[in-house]
Symmetry: C2
């Protein structure tokens, strides 16, 4: 028979079992932390009506969408978990209790050009809190706490949550009458660490911005110091702009509540240049960096938006959310060797036998299962040496050895596969 090559497409993550166990441990920790804060699970379809998926899309995103037809249906695979959430809340508005707090951990699909660390099928781990008409600013301070608890649990090393408020930037640009150039300006000032202050000034000037305004922008992005010093300096700018003032007030509130909720001071930082590309963020924005691996980019981002579902409903639904791009993160962490695991096997014990008495073998296995252990019995008729090799290959930490002696004496021999220590015990 002609064989088909058993290939997996480029841009699609498919892990060997031991890597998959690590991946799942991370995913489970994220989920457990989300649930610890009472977020509700959601599982929307992967395939949606293209009209729903494309309601808001445009530009690059739209080109990346997997869109196809089947019968008379124009279908698309979801490219994020926010659009399906918007649809869901608009659709089920009457059945939900607000604030609606949901998490969704699932795959999304983006037909990007595949390259190192970029995936076409990727896990996102999202939480959002949606208000009905309004939503307290305190929620904007709770999400950093959830991020903090999540990454503390994950133990990838020290991390910092960068916080800003879009209204501060928007107010600044409004005041300088540069709102229409905001995206370009943001793109340029984002490069300051890479290209230096002088080049930023040059590029801003090249955009046609007057000298005084360029110097205003530079003064703004050069605000440094502790979180409190930054807040103080922002006030001292004495900017007579309502949007700016509102943003500053919100940022102060968020910092206040983050502290009230007990986050250590070195785990969060006001970072005035963070804007998040997406148009729909209107207030608080977050990015999260590993202190030792800032080059990985933000590993958890999000923010506050004014209106989640405006494309589907007239209801005003403000929200705040964060997302972890788990597939990419897993790839990156592997690259820098940051993934630690407690355990690389599912089974705690492999029962290895040199007897025909499977009644006894199964009795011993069940004893351990009843104690909550995960137990595999080796059934193949192989030499004991091969059975141990199998346990080693699967990195199963313990074997329980049962031979005819053990059957006769109602015992079993338990062996620590790492140290080689073994002990015969009575059942």
């Amino acid at each position: 028979m002609n064989k088909v090559e058993p290939r997996t497409l480029p841009g699609f993550m498919e892990l060997l079992p031991q890597e998959q166990i690590l991946f799942n441990q991370i995913k489970d920790k994220i989920q457990n932390t989300y649930e610890k804060f009472g977020f509700l699970p959601l599982n929307t379809p992967i395939i949606e009506d293209s009209k729903v998926i494309l309601a808001k899309a445009g530009g690059e995103t739209e080109k990346q969408i997997y869109r196809f037809s089947k019968g008379e249906n124009d279908l698309s695979l979801r490219f994020d978990l926010t659009v399906p959430l918007a649809k869901y809340v608009a659709k089920n508005y009457g059945s939900l209790a607000f604030p609606f707090r949901r998490y969704q951990i699932g795959k999304v699909f983006r037909g990007e050009k595949p390259q190192k660390g970029r995936y076409r099928e990727l896990y996102q781990c999202d939480i959002d809190i949606i208000g009905d008409g309004e939503l307290s600013i305190i929620n904007d301070a709770e999400l950093p706490i959830v991020i903090y608890e999540t990454f503390k649990e994950l133990r990838f090393g020290e991390f910092t949550i960068y916080i800003n408020n879009r209204k501060i930037l928007n107010g600044l640009f409004e005041q300088l009458e540069l709102s229409n150039m905001a995206p370009d300006i943001l793109r340029i000032i984002d490069k300051i660490e890479k290209i230096g202050k002088e080049k930023v000034i040059k590029e801003l000037t090249d955009l046609g911005i007057e000298k005084e305004k360029v110097s205003n922008i530079i003064n703004f992005i050069e605000i440094e110091g502790t979180n409190d010093e930054k807040l103080k300096k922002l006030k001292e700018l004495n900017f007579k702009n309502e949007v700016f003032a509102k943003g500053l007030e919100e940022l102060e509130e968020v910092v206040k509540y983050i502290r009230i909720f007990g986050m250590p001071e070195n785990n969060f930082k006001i970072e005035l240049t963070i804007a998040r590309g997406l148009d729909y963020y209107t207030g608080t924005v977050y990015e999260t960096f590993l202190d030792e691996y800032k080059s990985l980019g933000s590993i958890c981002s999000g923010g506050r938006y004014e209106n989640l579902a405006e494309y589907y409903t007239d209801k005003k639904l403000p929200g705040v959310g964060i997302s972890i791009g788990l597939t990419r993160l897993f790839y990156q962490l592997n690259e820098v060797n940051l993934i630690k695991s407690e355990k690389k096997s599912i089974a705690d014990i492999l029962v290895v036998s040199m007897t025909e008495d499977f009644k006894y073998v199964s009795k011993v296995a069940n004893k351990f299962r009843q104690e909550g252990k995960k137990v595999q019995i080796y059934f193949e008729n192989k030499k004991i040496k091969n059975q141990f090799k199998y346990a080693d290959k699967l990195q199963i930490p313990y074997t329980v050895v049962i031979g005819d002696d053990e059957v006769k004496s109602n015992t079993y021999t338990i062996k620590n596969m790492e140290t080689g220590e073994q002990e015969t015990k009575s059942i």
Copy 2:
């Protein structure tokens, strides 16, 4: 702005949060049981190369596949978890330890005509054990134990696992020189409970089968009694056919080990007419029925196959597997009101506050979180009555009430939302 209708496509399950919690409880129990037996997790891509997906497909299945192109790629969504497993094992043969025991719980996609209880995007929960060249028959007896433990855990009521061996049927047809008519014959005898013996005889005769052979078939399917009586009667048929003899021997082995592993006699039953439609089953086959709801059809099926990955590799990879179609099962169980849940909320506690002192509120919430409880704090500035209503709507079992009195006295008031009982406790 013109609004897009926030619709979910027909044939796609999208649950409200409380239903989703129930769904996840079932899914988690299945996964936990699979892991208890040491099965390894797998998570293959949803999108595969069409060549891979279509290597084996044909007929109805092929028509149902969601197939599309993106750029130069001819892509398909997986329609089951077996084809991706075959590809995976062929691809990673050198890296896997055999027997390779894996579970995969994930969505598959079938463009079926949507109808009540039929879904286009559905969860399958599969386990398979793959051998390298050979695989002990004892594995065929372990899978029913996994099914037994799973459905015992799920508490949907009494259930029976029906067991047969395809070789018994194949041997019978071979002996009667009716192998080419086997599918038609199986289809007809499958209806015996519905249409009765006389009609079955008539339909078989109409196929052109001689009277004596028809009566042989009828004798065979009329074998009744306990499992041991059936095995005895099968032997007494004294069929001089090798395939038949091999099937009978295997069935006896499977029954022997099922008993050795401790399954209660009333939870499994030899059922000689079970064939499972799929071509690739070659030995043991399983179906599982809820005793009180046989009409739901088999809720967990599977069997032994000779060669998992013959479309991708020359390696001989025999296996045995089972699958639970969770999405359909969840729908059906809901219909007959069989889903019991311990808990319909994620949060164990809603912290309700009538104070501005969120430092204290957060301290109390963290105390419970540290004890392993899932805790939501209500942040919105709403009357206490509305906060209780929110807890009720989310079916959160306890509220912790904190007012200024509690802050002053370092206490909190915990209220059982079902009984209304409340108690003030010192922190």
